[in-house]
């Protein structure tokens, strides 16, 4: 594979990551959302491997495998189990309507492109142009956390944000040192467990996972 093909392959994967980010933003069914999250993880893992190949950095293969096992297999599995246990079936309610959310998402992409344009000029990496996509993925994940009412979808939004950060790391600097990445992966895993435990508590306390119900907790009326 020559560098040209790799670059275009990497761009293509970046575009797909962006697509999955948008799909997660507008997806209303919770199981499909988890599947999309798994797909995004798979794309990330593939992208990491491709970058590892082009930059000849072998620790990226390890982090690619790590992503694969953690984000494609383990986390979706945990979420599945969680949803099954909590008996969540109905569609997720969004706060803003779907076309509007899409437009805000598009605006975020344009914004991140505008923001990363200077970096693009400076960097010489093959993958530099995907930085805008990575930033957009982070912002869209945040947007997803804002527009959703359900606690589980908020977690998925959070994980999507983390995906964006990981993507940014691979595309901007050919990945963080392996130790850091291992640490982050462990953090994510532990976070997922903690969230799971919290969900059970929230569910028993409020009889629902609608985060708006938690507004009751505020002290001042």
């Amino acid at each position: 594979m020559d560098i040209e093909t790799v670059a275009s392959l990497s761009s293509f994967l970046a575009a797909l990551v962006l697509l999955t980010a948008f799909a997660m933003l507008v997806q209303k069914r919770i199981y499909s959302l988890i599947h999309l999250f798994a797909w995004q993880g798979l794309l990330l893992s593939a992208n990491t491997a491709v970058v590892g190949y082009v930059a000849a950095k072998h620790h990226l293969y390890i982090s690619s495998l790590l992503t694969l096992s953690l984000k494609v297999v383990l986390l979706p599995y945990i979420l599945h189990v969680l949803i099954h246990r909590l008996k969540i079936r109905k569609e997720i309610e969004t706060i803003v309507n779907v076309p509007m959310t899409m437009l805000i998402g598009l605006a975020l992409v344009i914004f991140s492109y505008h923001l990363t344009a200077p970096v693009r000029e400076l960097s010489s990496l093959v993958t530099r142009s995907t930085l805008a996509v990575a930033l957009a993925t982070v912002l869209i994940g945040l947007l997803m956390m804002i527009t959703r009412k359900h606690a589980v979808t908020q977690i998925i939004g959070f994980l999507a944000m983390e995906n964006g950060l990981f993507f940014a790391a691979t595309s901007a600097t050919y990945g963080m040192p392996l130790v850091v990445e291992l640490g982050v992966a462990l953090d994510i895993l532990i976070a997922a467990f903690i969230f799971g435990i919290f969900f059970f508590h929230i569910n028993t306390a409020f009889d629902s996972l609608d985060v708006e119900k938690m507004a009751k907790l505020k002290e001042v009326d």
């Binding site: 598009l106 344009i110 492109y113 505008h114 344009a117």
Partner: protein, 682 residues
């Protein structure tokens, strides 16, 4: 003996002015008045059109200084290609409308005298031509006011209706707020051009020769944009337009929508491209954004409207938006020094100026014929008119096809050119513009599609189906003069759609003088049949082939496959086995617009009341459904209501000064004099 264009134009203006005296003499005999009126107006507007067309053809600029005016500031006249282009538009549509008026005014005989209509119509035409001819700020503003005042009286023509008086008042207020802004803008430019002490700066020539500092130029631009936008009906200054245009007599509505709005466009072009000339890119961005918002809002409101003339008025708002999009794009390209693209966008905008004059004139004339025949403006009470008014229906359909931007009619050409200008925007150097422009193009496409839907509704509900009103009145086809007027306009729509290259070849001098590049070299590179804005392998369109090809294919299909008359059976509509279909069961304007209200309704403030009331008289239907729908401009509540409430509040406070006693007023004058004297001392 030959006359120069400026002489022809000014004598036409003079003829219009003199007609006022003639009208005063003829007011006893309305029939003679109408005959003289339509002859004089037809000739006068034809002269204006010829003068304009000649100027553009020659590409020459002529100036005259009249011996009238203020001391030190005589009236300056100037006829350059830009002015000539707008004169052509004004003259051409006034010609068509004047032909139409010959028949239209006859409808008033026996109901009300038309002297006032004739007089102000004539002054209105004179005013519009003078605005375009003026070459100094003072003459411009005088003409501007003449135009505004004349149109005010035309809107007030049927002044016994309170709605008309209210609409005319609103129109007058906004026109004047706008005029003040224009005056201030000219004041700034004149002050910088010739100093605040003399009148020298008030000629446009003086302004042209100065390069303004950016801050002052921006102030002048924003003020004049505000002023002209108020006249053109740019959102959010558009609220007067759907009130005033529909209540005027239909021939006047045609002129107001068709050409009066264009004088404001002329003003914007004159001030930015000609007087100020050099500007930062965000000016263009502002005009472009305003244009897109105006176009979208205008068409969404038009879609929800059920009054045929109001629908057309809102659609004028939309078309002004489309023109502004062209101008804004041109300004953006020009400020990055991309002259060819700037010329392309400006050509698109100017082309649409002509197109809109033609099809909106046609549509208003058609609506006038319908109003004339049925005495009805509400589409909910129309239907099936195609059987009773076949000519009007066919001509209205041509107007509807043109305005919906369907090939091979003229609206398509200008929108196609605008799209091409949009598609070339990625060559802009600024990355943010590159990304935002295409989104503008998408909104523009939405506008075009919505306008097709709107005119399917307008034509479908008023001309097709069956009569929806309570009882069918005696409906008759429009008279020959009215049909002739509409036919001319329809022919113009078709010709402008089929021969765009010839038209662009003719008008090319205007963008060349304003932005410094011409389109015709590249636009006609592939021969006169193909319009190729930039290069043949970039994009091309041939109106002739689409028209002839469409015609040929359709005729062929018709002759090969058409149904023999013997094989057609006319039967009543299948009623699904129910007893009887009534005309009230048809889809009407409100129901047609329902999906659009659901999707785009957030742009308007919609109040929908559905209630069930008991109906004891009817055993079979014990409940009666009442449905009430009210749609208002959001801007009315956002901007106008606060302003009007505030001004009433101020007026009431100020009203306390009114004591009704003469001494009190003397004290006020006395106090004023004292204060002024004191100020003079200080």
């Amino acid at each position: 003996m030959t006359f120069s264009p400026v002489e022809i134009a000014s004598s036409a203006v003079l003829i219009h002015m003199l007609f006022v005296l003639v009208a005063a003499l003829l007011r006893r005999s309305q029939k003679a008045l109408i005959a003289v009126f339509s002859t004089v107006m037809t000739v006068g507007s034809l002269m204006i059109c010829i003068a304009g067309a000649m100027t553009v053809w020659d590409g020459a600029t002529e100036t005259r200084v009249l011996s009238m005016g203020l001391p030190g500031l005589p009236f300056h006249l100037r006829l350059d290609p830009l002015a000539g282009y707008f004169l052509t538009v004004i003259g051409l549509l006034s010609f068509f409308v004047s032909v139409y008026s010959a028949g239209y005014l006859k409808g008033f005989i026996g109901h009300r005298p038309v002297t006032r209509l004739a007089v102000f119509y004539s002054l209105f035409l004179a005013g519009m031509s003078m605005v375009v001819l003026a070459d100094d700020a003072l003459f411009f503003l005088i003409s501007w006011e003449l135009m505004a005042a004349a149109s005010y009286f035309l809107v007030m023509f049927e002044d016994e209706k309170p709605d008309n008086r209210r609409a005319a008042f609103l129109y007058m207020v906004i026109a004047h707020v706008g005029a003040i802004a224009i005056l201030l803008s000219f004041g700034i430019m004149a002050g910088l051009a010739g100093g605040f002490e003399s009148f020298d700066g008030y000629t446009f020539d003086a302004m042209r020769n100065v390069s303004f500092p950016v801050s002052w130029a921006t102030a002048a631009f924003l003020l004049s944009l505000f002023g002209f936008a108020a006249k053109a009906g740019v959102v959010p200054l558009h609220v007067w337009l759907p009130e005033a245009h529909p209540v005027a007599p239909s021939n006047v509505s045609a002129l107001m929508s068709g050409v009066m709005l264009k004088t404001a466009i002329y003003g914007i072009i004159r001030v930015t491209f000609d007087l100020i000339r050099v500007f930062p890119w965000w000016w263009g961005g502002l005009v472009l954004t305003l244009g897109i918002i105006t176009a979208l809002m205008g068409i969404v409101y038009a879609m929800m409207e059920k009054d045929l003339k109001r629908l057309l008025a809102y659609s004028s708002v939309e078309n002004i938006g489309i023109i502004l999009v062209g101008i804004g794009l041109s300004m953006v390209f020009l400020s990055f020094n991309m002259t060819l693209l700037s010329s392309l966008a400006l050509t698109a905008g100017l082309y649409h100026v002509m197109n809109h004059a033609m099809f909106k004139g046609l549509l208003f004339m058609g609506a006038g014929s319908v109003l004339h025949a049925t005495d009805e403006r509400n589409m909910e009470n129309m239907g099936g008119l195609i059987h009773l008014m076949p000519w009007t229906a066919a001509l209205f359909l041509i107007g509807a096809l043109s305005i919906s931007a369907l090939p091979p009619f003229n609206g398509f050409v200008s929108e196609w050119l605008t799209f091409q200008a949009f598609l070339l925007s990625p060559s802009l150097p600024s990355p943010l513009m590159k990304l935002l422009m295409p989104l503008g193009a998408a909104l523009f496409a939405l506008t075009a599609a919505l306008s097709a839907a709107t005119f399917v509704k307008a034509f479908g509900v008023s001309f097709l189906g069956k009569w929806r009103g309570p009882q069918q009145r005696h409906v008759h086809e429009a008279g020959p003069a009215m049909i002739a007027g509409m036919m001319f306009a329809a022919a113009a729509c078709l010709c402008l759609g089929i021969f765009p290259t010839a038209f662009i070849d003719w008008m090319d001098i205007v963008p060349e003088q304003l932005v410094g590049d011409r389109l015709s070299v590249s636009a006609t590179a592939g021969g006169w049949m193909w319009l190729t804005p930039v290069a043949p392998d970039r994009a091309s369109y041939s109106g002739v082939i689409v028209f002839l090809g469409g015609l040929a294919v359709n005729l062929l299909v018709y002759f090969v496959l058409h149904v023999r008359p013997g094989k057609i059976h006319r039967v009543p509509v299948w009623d699904c086995g129910f007893e009887k279909l009534t005309n009230r069961m048809q889809y009407n304007s409100t129901s047609f617009a329902m999906p659009f209200r659901r999707v785009f309704g957030f742009m308007a403030s919609i109040k929908e009341d559905v209630s069930l009331a008991p109906q004891p008289a009817h055993a079979a239907f014990p409940r009666r459904l009442h449905y009430h729908l009210r749609i208002r401009d959001r801007f009315w509540n956002w901007i106008y209501k606060p302003v009007s409430d505030a001004s009433f509040w101020v007026a009431r406070k100020v009203g306390r000064l009114q004591q009704g006693r003469i001494q009190a007023y003397l004290i006020y004058s006395f106090a004023t004099i004292i204060v002024l004297l004191l100020l003079a001392v200080i």
